[in-house]
Symmetry: C2
Subunit: 315 residues, 2 copies
């Protein structure tokens, strides 16, 4: 018995065939975000390719799981809205079920990543786990008693929009001082931009000024490695904000583990010390002594594995 | 079949006999916080009196539920620590079971208050509910799929120690900008004290200066009713902070309802508008449109009723 796990992000669509606890096939393509139709066509293409690959291996696929970056109506299998691709009120589950005559299940990408960490990853065996995906934005997943927490309508676990500084910078969501407005790739880019308006000079700031549109948050990691004082300062401050958010989550959830994944982990070595000092100073002792704060051991596979685990649960 | 529900606070110990969905007996006494022994003796006395009253009515009591203001090790039935009374590593469950030969169950007071709201109160029928007790401090309870959420060790739902302003005032817990440091009775008292250091005058500030130690946060309600501009400003600001905390909780939990109880509700009329405006501006639309924000309909009975419901669940 095999299942498909698909991870739809704003830039790439990844998929796996998961069989006997192993990834036996992989698929990866650029997400064509021209329109809702091109995104859906990309998902269908990923499933078709992986089903063909399964067939050629003699594996019967029993269900399809999808993790999608966006707001999901879990009961109806609909992507209601998404910040990084054009799906809007898209009945993804029904489209796939009609196309392939297989049961399909659709969830938020950070929810399934949390499930993967709790079942197979850094938090393996944890009944209560909080997962943060640190990328361009910040996604969140909550595992309660071993299962994904979704809330009343499936819109829960928006941990990137936990407000940690009510007077802080405006977030994409319209609120102020969300974790995402202080720690994400976008937040770090904005801090570099702010510093570029000053008269200070450093290799990073000069690179930014030379071509702001070409500058990527990932460059901050390189400059921090080279010792750029502004890069280091920005990442330490981001680490402190991350620590505040994690401390709050520890006080709220008393979890076994907090796990972290995403592109920003490349910078984690420069953020970790401030993050841990802040958690030590701000989280309630009983919960703080119990929790482990861990980086993902699944890397880019977290999303597809989580989607496959979700598919298995209803296969 | 009847159960006892006991609510142990820092100032009062209340109890009920709960039978056929009705409160049939009540008990109330001042909590003697001289020592751990006097507090325990008070709990035993409350149970004894209520058991006698049940017997004289011909009711058989099958279990005892307790809601206690403090950190609870739920599995072991132990109060590990408490801010407002001297219980510390106190095996409350076992003491009661030995004394009365009845099953007993011990939980945090805000957890049981949340359960009461979800089963019998303002949030009746809600599967996902967040409850805040707004008093001297701020307690929190989380209902997930109709049941109390406790986390890995029973220390979860410390919603008063969600950090909403990382640069805000120091909280009793040692962190900065917790909801409790910005909205509670203690927080409001401290804002009055700060204003009393200025050269401003108002009936409230002059009353505070006359006898700071005799001043109670409750007086702010009276002064606000009389139109004291500083009282009104403090409560509006507290309402805004409360709105930030509720918005964050809505984004995290996507609940059916957020319910509010506690002594600070006397001031709620002066806080509500700012609170609702802030929630409207800061919570994610899909979750915001779904949630209802409600004041408790159970009043002082929330704690004892919740404890009784908890007792019924294992009776």
């Amino acid at each position: 018995m095999a299942v498909l796990g698909i991870d739809l992000g704003g830039t790439k669509t990844a998929g796996i065939v998961f069989h006997d606890g192993e990834i036996v096939e992989r698929y990866r393509a650029t997400t064509d975000i021209t329109s809702s139709e091109t995104v859906m066509a990309g998902i269908v293409e990923a499933c078709s390719r992986l089903l063909e690959a399964s067939e050629s291996r003699g594996l019967e696929v029993t269900s399809i799981g999808l993790g999608i970056a966006g707001f999901i109506d879990f009961e109806r299998g609909v992507v209601t809205d998404a910040p990084n691709h054009p799906l809007h009120e898209a009945p993804v589950r029904d489209v796939l079920q009609d196309a392939f005559h297989l049961p399909a299940i659709v969830d938020n990408d950070a929810n399934v990543a949390a499930l993967a960490e709790a079942r197979l990853g850094a938090g393996k065996g944890c009944r209560y786990l909080i997962h943060l995906t640190l990328g361009t934005g910040i996604g969140g997943g909550i595992i309660v008693d071993g299962e994904v927490y979704r809330g009343a309508q499936g819109a829960g676990a928006e941990l990137g929009h936990m407000i940690i500084d009510e007077n802080g910078p405006i977030c994409n969501c319209g609120a102020r001082g969300c974790l995402e407005a202080l720690v994400s790739g976008v937040a770090i880019y904005k801090r570099v931009e702010e510093l570029s308006w000053t008269k200070k000079h450093s290799p990073m700031l000069d690179e930014f000024r030379a071509d702001p549109l070409a500058f990527r948050a990932e460059a901050v990691e390189r400059h921090a490695t080279d010792g750029d004082e502004f890069a280091l300062s920005i990442l330490r401050t981001a680490g402190k904000h991350l620590g505040v958010g994690i401390a709050s989550l520890i006080n709220i959830f008393n979890p076994d583990a907090v796990t972290l994944s995403g592109g920003l982990l490349g910078c984690f070595q420069f953020m970790e010390e401030e993050m841990r000092m802040t958690v030590d100073g701000m989280a309630i002792p009983i919960s703080r002594r119990h929790v482990r704060i861990l980086t993902s051991t699944l890397g880019d596979d977290g999303g597809t594995l989580g989607a496959a685990i979700l598919a298995s649960s209803q296969g």
